[in-house]
Amino acid sequence: SAVISQKPSRDICQRGTSLTIQCQVDSQVTMMFWYRQQPGQSLTLIATANQGSEATYESGFVIDKFPISRPNLTFSTLTVSNMSPEDSSIYLCSVVRVWETNYGYTFGSGTRLTVV
């Protein structure tokens, strides 16, 4: 299955600042997905990132707050802008993979963000 390198793994940031999270995939993929997760809870989709076009954002998430870049088929970044304590969460990137009789997401290891 695919390997996704995500960094940073964790960070503590001051409110009002921005953090950029990077995901590098070991092969080319059309779509990358960015999720947010509160510890121990389910995942909420932030946006879908296609190479060469604007990301598609889910309800409640806007580009000014969560700008996404997708410069090529193996890399994407998510920026959390003008952070507040409410942005404290785990952020995950993922891609779809097909192998043997299964298909689903492969995830990065996540970025645990704490805003103080």
Partner: protein, 113 residues
């Protein structure tokens, strides 16, 4: 939004016990996936069920897809501490691997040695 409700939300059992986690929806899915997530890691895919009524086994884990493809269950036999984690189901609304998947509400399992 296609809601997937998981039950129970939390489960704490002794090593060696059996358990079942349920994933229910009013929507039909072309397939349903089960993931396990350990602290500090991303979710890891366990299995995908595609056909209504399908049963798949992964060692002590048995996964079943409902006949109407609206629900699924995960049964663990003789649970071990290594089974501890957050279990998530996710549904694919269309048979297209480029689609977004919809995640369930999650079940946090703790297996006590």
């Amino acid at each position: 939004t296609q809601l997937l409700e998981q039950s129970p939300q939390f489960l704490s059992i002794q090593e060696g016990e059996n358990l079942t986690v349920y994933c229910n929806s009013s929507s039909v899915f072309s397939s349903l996936q089960w993931y396990r997530q350990e602290p500090g890691e991303g979710p890891v895919l366990l299995v995908t069920v595609v056909t209504g009524g399908e049963v798949k086994k992964l060692k002590r884990l048995t996964f079943q897809f409902g006949d109407a493809r609206k629900d699924s269950s995960l049964h663990i036999t003789a649970a071990q501490p290594g089974d501890t984690g957050l279990y998530l189901c996710a549904g694919d609304p269309r048979r297209n691997t480029g689609n977004q998947f919809y995640f369930g509400t999650g079940t946090s399992l703790t297996v006590i040695p």
